[in-house]
């Protein structure tokens, strides 16, 4: 099957807004989420957590817990040190001596909320009571919650044994920014910008159920595992248990957005208790726990930022020093230290870029990948600098962006670091976005309202959603890591009943994989959409998965679908083999349509797929032996993304396969007395190549948009002076409600990717465009009297901006 075949008129489902297969069970309250699954003899785990940001554990007393009716046992840090290995660290020396386990290790807690004791009991109530009865005494240690302080010579050490709070330190230097800064017509310098800490906070918190089968010495983990094979690998190492005796399952899964990539950590503790106490164990995370350690997004300081601009508005490049605050442990970090380089150029034709990037430990919750992982921080900075330059140098913000965008005729476009942007039409996308917000009308409104106490601001956010990682980029972080390229697997079979069964290596948590897989497979096999049954969730014991399987990094439309296409092609070959032997023709003469295999030149000669299945499963005597032994009607295939190893010395090479683009535009109204920002209009234009299901795509765009809007205006994982999280649940962490938001304007541009099997690009993360757009809109409303140098702009900050905040931190050197 070729892309031609998918776009020919016979295509019935692919590219259409097919209703989702997942929906009926979810709408009827018949889904099965992590805490839904009934398990016989189930016991419950509750963690006792540190209230201190940094402290030495002086004593642990569980005697009162032992007296609680229903108490089964507990797990203490010493026991974990004896029974487990530390989790694998990605970073090289010296920070690779970090020790990370499922309970505080080395007798020290390093962030408020770190688990210290895991308590198991026969009911939820007993587990809660027993955990509450555990007494842990601490001796506080000095703590550090600001990455800028953490790099000072006398800073408290988060990991004493490392001897520094720097987990990763790299210099990226492409082109010649020093020359550009010396010779450019203009140079803009900004002292410091801040991208704040927040997360997508999925509505279902973490949950994992662990069953240990002593007879076969096997653990089965059920819960929210977004990368099942990597989780298996981590669990196997930590538990010192053979990977072939670990099974990782996910069913319905209430959102991850990246932050659930580290479910293996609490799962380790639950597994130890399940084995020790001989009962299935479930840990159900509370919202408050999730906010403490369910995974925060990367917080980043950009310092000493310089941008070189020509008088005609051409931006040459920029340089900056990044301090990325990763919290107390590098759980998926410091991968963020290279992931941002996937989009080094952002949407622009930069020729020169120099970044010193450091990942910094602090006594705060560990960061996890979070929707837009590490790329949106960099793109926010670039977009902010474009906007600041336009304002300070007097360029029209629209024209300035248009001039510097990668232009449609430049694709495939190679960036400063060797990434290849596959396709797009940013100018068209921007024009469509501006149409959706009625840009001239908004400018008129801005003039009309001047002096009334309300100010109008118009903002543009240009961003990329880079998808399908080249995992070899991990070697830029640590040359010894054995990763390279990317794959995904798929399994398709024709069941004995003639139905089609498809299993993907991906793990959906709302993206509609059951739907999009069925669309593509049904078209390829010429069967009805309802005829394709796609397995819910994932099962690591099925051979659908590869090492990289899972849902992360915006890639399913490329890797998941391509693997499914490859597997379906194999199944088609088998079906053709059977049909041709029955219909007495060559396999190449067979086509699949209307639920049957038929002779292309003589469609009357047809064998329904049910008959194909029936013969293979129940009547193999009807087949020639060589066909019967060749055909199992089970096809497994892998898609290997076309990557090469990057040049590690130059840090140069293609790091992702596709680059979906998104342009957002918005109009805000700011109350001059309070600083309150009201969103009047919001629009987004998405270009993710050839769509498989445009309805699903638009839904993903909406979701990513609200994560960004809510982060820009409401959500902040702020820590106080004592290292305490000041937004520890949805009381103070205001996740936007329906009332906070306007209806959206939405449009799309379709620039098929030349690099993927059907021209689709990965999408869904969204690249943080609302953060860029809202910063720009607030700047537009304020003018240059204050400068928007933070991604989080609550009312108080906006009021300060109206009064000149940070104006002095931006200088036009030339």
């Amino acid at each position: 099957m070729t892309s031609d075949q998918l776009t020919r008129p016979a295509v019935r489902f692919t590219g259409k807004p097919m209703p989702r297969k997942e929906d009926d069970r979810l709408l009827k309250a018949q889904g099965e989420f992590g805490d839904d699954t009934p398990v016989a003899h189930l016991a419950y785990v509750v963690f006792v957590r540190s209230p201190y940001a940094h402290a030495r554990i002086t004593s642990i007393d569980v005697s009162a817990a032992e007296r609680v009716d229903g108490y089964l046992g507990c797990l203490l840090p010493d026991e974990v040190e004896q029974l487990t290995e530390p989790y694998v660290e990605l970073q090289g020396p010296p920070a690779d001596v970090e020790v990370d386990r499922c309970l505080a290790s080395g007798g020290v807690v390093r962030f408020s909320g770190e688990p210290v004791v895991a308590v198991a009991a026969s009911s939820r109530e007993a587990a809660r009571d027993a955990a509450a009865a555990v007494v842990v005494d601490y001796t506080p240690l000095p703590h550090v919650v600001d990455a800028r302080s953490a790099v000072l010579p006398d800073a408290p050490q988060v990991h004493e044994q490392i001897g520094s709070n720097v987990a990763f330190d790299a210099l990226y230097d492409w082109g010649d920014i020093d020359f550009a800064l010396e010779n450019a017509d203009h140079v803009i310098e900004v002292d410091e910008l801040h991208f704040h800490r927040f997360s997508s906070t999925p509505l279902e918190c973490g949950v994992v159920t662990v069953e240990y089968d002593a007879g076969v010495d096997t653990f089965t983990f059920t819960g929210g595992f977004a990368t099942p094979q990597l989780a298996t690998f981590n669990l196997a190492v930590a538990l010192r248990h053979p990977a072939n005796r670990l099974r990782v399952l996910s069913k319905d899964f209430g959102g991850s957005f990246g932050v659930k990539l580290n479910t293996h950590i609490p799962a380790t503790a639950a597994a130890l208790l399940a084995r020790k106490l001989g009962r299935p164990m479930r840990w159900t995370e509370t919202r408050s726990e999730h906010h403490l350690m369910g995974g925060h997004g990367n917080e980043r300081w950009f310092r000493d930022v310089k941008m070189a601009v020509q008088s005609d508005g051409t931006v040459l490049g920029l340089s900056y020093d990044a301090l990325d605050d990763v919290g107390a442990y590098t759980r998926y970090e410091p991968l963020g230290g290279v992931i941002w380089t996937q989009v080094a150029n952002a949407c622009y034709q930069l020729k020169h870029l120099k970044v010193r990037y450091r990942s910094i430990y602090t006594n705060k919750g560990p960061v996890h990948p979070n929707r837009g992982y590490s790329r949106m921080q960099h793109m926010w900075l670039v977009e902010r600098m474009m906007d600041i330059a336009a304002h300070k140098l007097g360029f029209d913000p629209v024209e300035f962006r248009l001039r510097n965008y990668v232009q449609p005729d430049q694709y495939p476009y190679t960036t400063v670091n060797g990434c290849v942007y596959d396709s797009g039409d940013l100018p068209l996308s921007l024009r469509k976005a501006l149409d959706l917000i009625d840009y001239p009308g908004a400018r008129r409104l801005q003039r009309e309202l001047a002096g009334t106490g309300k100010r109008i601001g118009i903002g543009i956010g240009s961003t990329l959603d880079s998808g399908t990682n080249n995992f070899a980029q991990a070697r830029l972080l640590n040359a010894h890591l054995p990763f390279g390229g990317n794959t995904e697997g798929a399994l398709v079979r024709l069941g004995a009943d003639g139905s089609v069964y498809a299993t993907t290596g991906g793990v959906a948590f709302g993206q509609g994989h059951e739907t999009t897989v069925a669309q593509v497979v049904a078209d390829m096999l010429g069967v009805a959409y309802d005829h394709v049954h796609v397995q819910r969730g994932s099962d690591s014991s099925l051979s659908a998965q590869t090492g990289f399987s899972g849902s992360y990094a915006s890639q399913f439309a490329v890797t998941g679908i391509a693997a499914m296409i490859n597997a379906t092609k194999r199944l088609i070959r088998e079906i053709s083999l059977v049909a041709s032997s029955v219909l007495k023709c060559e396999p190449e003469e067979i086509e699949l349509a209307d639920g049957a295999a038929r002779v292309r030149t003589d469609p009357e000669r047809a064998l329904p797929l049910a008959a194909v299945a029936g013969i293979v499963h129940f009547s193999p005597v009807d087949l020639p032996p060589e066909v019967a032994e060749e055909v199992g009607l089970v096809a497994r295939s892998v898609y290997r993304a076309p990557f090469e190893l990057p040049d590690l010395d130059r840090k140069y090479g293609n790091l992702t396969l596709t680059y979906a683009t998104q342009i957002h535009a918005c109009v805000v109204e700011i109350d001059e007395e309070t600083g309150h920002t009201k969103l009047l209009r919001y629009a987004m234009v998405d270009d993710c190549g050839t769509p498989i299901n445009p309805m699903v795509i638009e839904g993903q765009v909406h979701g990513a948009t609200v994560h960004g809007i809510s982060a820009a205006l409401f959500e902040h994982f702020a820590y106080d002076e004592h290292g305490q999280l000041a937004a520890g649940n949805f009381y103070d962490y205001h996740a936007a409600t329906a009332l906070d938001l306007p209806s959206f304007g939405y449009d799309s541009v379709v620039s098929p990717s030349p690099f993927t099997p059907i021209g689709a690009k990965g999408m869904g993360e969204g690249g943080g465009a609302p953060l860029h757009a809202l910063s720009a809109a607030i700047q537009d409303a304020i003018g240059t009297q204050g400068m928007v140098l933070a991604s989080f702009n609550p009312p108080e900050r906006v009021l300060q901006l109206l009064r000149g905040l940070d104006a002095e931190k931006v200088q036009v050197l030339r």
């Binding site: 989702r20 929906d23 009926d24 989420f33 906070t201 509505l203 209430g254 919202r287 649940n729």
Partner: protein
């Protein structure tokens, strides 16, 4: 333990609960009702929304013992008798008003209550009606569209 008798989704249920047991836990753990979900600790997210004696409530802020003698409806009661989607559920499906599905049952309960209330189903009123239900996937746009479509289709 206290014995309680509650009609849940049309069926008389008897349970033995501790005084401290929240209604949501009894519905989920004892009755395997998967409509009410737990998404927060503080009554903000609305995932546990049910109707109790005809009133919309968050079942994480009601004790199971309080419901003794009453009637509770969860999202499992919404479908048509033949098991097909009701009008509102169908509108949610048609308008892609759910992604992961975790908030969906609570959303459906709130939307049902709103549509029954006789309030005008304007954009603003719909958004206001939903403010006690958090969704982290959809951005609400399609949920609002689905509810308004359901209102238009109501004969």
């Amino acid at each position: 333990m206290t014995e309680i008798n509650v009609i849940v989704d049309g069926k008389q249920e008897t349970g033995a609960v501790q005084d401290r047991t929240l209604l949501v836990h009894w519905l989920r753990d004892s009755l395997d009702k998967r409509g009410p979900k737990i998404g927060c600790d503080t009554g903000n997210c609305g995932a546990c929304t049910v109707r109790w004696d005809g009133q919309l409530v968050k079942s994480c802020m009601v004790l199971a013992v309080q419901a003794d003698g009453g009637t509770v409806e969860t999202a499992a009661s919404l479908s048509e008798e033949d098991g097909s989607l009701n009008r509102l559920q169908q509108c949610f499906k048609d308008h892609h008003a759910l992604q992961c599905g975790y908030c969906t049952s609570g959303m459906l309960m709130t939307a049902t209550d709103f549509l029954c209330s006789g309030e005008p189903v304007t954009e603003e009123a719909t958004r206001r009606a939903l403010k006690g239900n958090v969704c982290r996937c959809t951005g609400y746009h399609n949920i609002v569209r689905a509810i308004r479509a359901a209102a238009e289709e109501t004969p």
